[in-house]
């Protein structure tokens, strides 16, 4: 039975890959990347063999603890990295729970991350091979450590699926992960800086971590090597107790999952009345705007583009050398304007087949286009302009204000125009409603990136008049040119917007059934 379940895991992986050749490429690239990292780790562990015991202990314990911590907590945040064998689907089959625990643990170890971790863990045997007893201890520790990591991930996932099975919890979780991802560059920079300064206290930290459930297992061989058997014995006890506790918790969570398979929990969110539909005008355009704005608030796929907004100043601040160069901050407004104005070019793709309602009611293309733009403009325009003013105030560059306003207004209006045109004609492989905003459709990333860059380039050309005026004004310190860029941006942008909405609307009127068929195909 264990073998059958492990085979099932590989069969599912293989069948999944057979569906999409691009996924194979991704898996191979991922594998190569993993091998590369693994190579570095192995070389490091071998090199540590010659290092002083204390130094090797510090590194192995900290890295090992980080590994188990990562295994345990990452899957919960990312909604499960490896759900190849889903326990909920196994519920109907009469598999004894202990068999299931063993089978899932083994298939977890035999996955790509499991194999990589196992090899790295075995690398510690080389590190401690300076002493046969320590090498043996390292072998035992590696086995315990790897299983603790794998079981840890399963345990917390099983427990968390009970707690956070609701739609809202799931959606919140995916968004929380996104923020550290975006800030990865600055975070690595900060952490490495911090570590450089704090390198003296690392051994102390490692000592403490060595007594925790995550680090104990890796400290055992080090203390055997230095002859401190009593300490090693205690640490081994902690490690074993951790593994036993993890298994017990996991088994309990699994048992409950099998008895009461998680179903889509109904979070009864009460929203009285008609909400935004009562505020916007009672016309088709107003209705589309109310609907779109409601989605900006309620759909995590839209929230994803909103989250990037606070990140833009943070990134610019980082690039500007942590406040050394505040002038770079003035580009926050225009950058946010680009991101927001172009964010609705996948709008119809986000609707998915719900767009059928628009087709079936025969709403006019212009109302459709205009409504979506209004919903976005309601917050994008004030937000971008406020950011321009705020950034100028912070960096005390008031002379740039008029030019920046001109550029930002131009970007917003022209961007709305480009988005209106594109989303009325093309569909993109975006995540379906209810899917994780970060779920990439096979081949979707590439085509999406290509159109993003193409449409940004088009936008760049369209805003040239006001952009050139403002930039020349900045370069020559001529405030008049900056003031001039505002009306130019307004007039050119408005003209483009009228054109974009009209043209996009006409395309939609003519091709709505074809657009719907396209959406249905990629559903």
């Amino acid at each position: 039975m264990v073998a059958t379940l492990v085979r099932l895991r590989f069969l599912l992986l293989a069948n999944g890959l057979r569906k999409s050749p691009w996924q194979i490429v991704a898996v191979i690239l991922g594998g190569l990347y993993g091998l590369f990292l693994l190579g570095i780790v192995i070389v490091g562990l071998i090199a540590l063999r010659a290092a002083p015991i204390d130094f090797a202990r510090t590194l192995v314990v900290l890295a090992g603890a980080a590994t188990i911590l990562g295994w345990t907590f990452l899957p919960v945040l990312t909604s499960g990295i490896d759900q190849t064998v889903d326990t909920a689907r196994l519920a109907p089959f009469p598999v004894p729970i202990n068999t299931l625990v063993l089978a899932l643990a083994v298939s977890g170890v035999l996955g790509v991350p499991g194999i990589v971790t196992s090899i790295a863990a075995l690398g510690t045997v080389v590190t401690w091979s300076r002493d046969p007893l320590a090498a043996f201890a390292a072998l035992v520790s590696a086995a315990i450590g790897v299983f603790t990591a794998v079981v840890g991930s399963r345990m917390l996932a099983a427990l968390a699926s009970r707690i956070g099975a609701g739609r809202r919890a799931r959606e919140a979780r995916t968004l929380i992960v996104f923020i550290p991802l975006l800030l990865l560059g600055p975070i690595i920079f900060l952490v490495s800086n911090l570590l450089r300064e704090a390198s003296d206290i690392l051994p102390t930290i490692a000592q403490v971590v060595g007594w925790t459930p995550f680090g104990a297992v890796w400290a055992v061989p080090a203390d055997v090597a230095s002859g401190d058997f009593a300490k090693a014995g205690f640490e081994l006890l902690i490690a074993l107790a951790t593994l036993v506790l993890f298994v017990a918790l996991w088994r309990w969570g699994l048992g409950r999952a099998l008895e009461r398979p998680a179903r889509a929990a109904t979070a009864q969110v009460s929203k009285r009345g008609s909400g935004l539909f009562g505020i916007f005008p009672g016309t088709p355009t107003g209705a589309v705007a109310a609907r779109a704005l409601t989605y900006w608030v309620r759909d995590p796929r839209y929230a994803q583009s909103l989250i990037t907004i606070p990140i833009v100043p943070a990134l610019l601040f980082f690039w500007g050398g942590f406040g050394e160069n505040l002038a770079i901050l003035v580009w926050v407004g225009p950058v946010v304007a680009v991101l927001l104005a172009m964010s609705i070019y996948t709008d119809v793709s986000y609707d998915n087949t719900a767009f059928a309602l628009h087709v079936q009611t025969g709403v006019s293309g212009i109302a459709d286009r205009l409504g979506r733009v209004i919903a976005l403009a309601v917050f994008a325009v004030p937000l971008s302009l406020a950011l321009v003013v705020a950034s100028v105030a912070v960096s005390n560059t008031w002379q740039l204000l008029p030019g920046l306003l001109g550029i930002t207004i131009g970007i917003l209006l022209s961007g709305f125009a480009v988005s209106s045109l594109i989303s009325g004609r093309l569909t993109f492989p975006v995540p379906a409603p209810g899917e994780s905003p970060f779920k990439a459709r096979p081949g979707g990333g590439f085509s999406l990136m290509l159109t993003t860059f193409a449409s940004w380039a088009v936008l760049g050309v369209l805003i040239l008049p006001e952009l050139v005026l403002a930039l020349v004004g900045f370069a020559t310190d001529n405030p008049l040119l900056g003031w001039l860029s505002i009306p130019v941006g307004l007039i050119v942008g408005t003209a483009l917007l009228v054109l974009g909405v009209r043209l996009g609307g006409r395309i939609l009127d003519r091709r709505a059934p074809e657009l719907l068929a396209q959406l249905q195909k990629q559903k």
Partner: protein, 255 residues
Amino acid sequence: MATTSTPALEIRHLTKRFGTNAAVDDLDLVVPSGSFFGLVGPNGAGKTTTLSMATGLLRPDAGTVSIHGVDVWTNLVKAKSLVGNLSDGVRLFDRLTGTQLVTYAGLLYGMDRDVVTARAADLLTMLDLEGAGSTLVVDYSAGMTKKIALACALVHAPQLLVLDEPFESVDPVSAANIRDILEGFVKSGGTVIVSSHVMDLVQRMCDHVAVIDKGRVIAAGTTDEVRAGSTLEDRFVELVGGRNKGEGPEWLRLS
């Protein structure tokens, strides 16, 4: 009220190909005004494709469709205002509450907001959804989702209702209520087309029926004509074929 002489829906030589496979193959269908019309056929027969083309959602390769004399594909907006449509297998704007979704549909039809608000409340009560009006549609059960989609189809008081699988996963009480609503609608002069796999239901509910197989109509007329003295289910199986005789494999028989 439409005159009884022009049919509610008239389909001529309708054809749609997906690749080399003709999903709908030169199909002719006439739905008399004021009829309760059942559309039945095996899986993949082309029912959904036909109904999508009839309601302006999918452009046919060839053929014409007219609703109460209005040619659908040359006068889309006018035709669509005459039809209420419940499509099978399309999503809804499910991040709206039930009330908001119905309101949205009404406003898109160009109706006045006060009228829409009043009708949305009526429809939710009628369809046993009044308690769920302020819940997001994404949190609805399958049956509730069907009912809210039906409410969206009814909100603009169409003359023709085209319902694709309206009773799927709807509980018996709600199904009976929906049937009452539809019967009342037909009595007042409206026309209803339903597609369904439940033959008993179609036989009891519909006065006309058409059997579609492989993209063509293989039998059509009043329900009594089509079933020809037999039950609709037996007649359907006879027309479509494909029943396996026998009692299943030996090992599945317990004694």
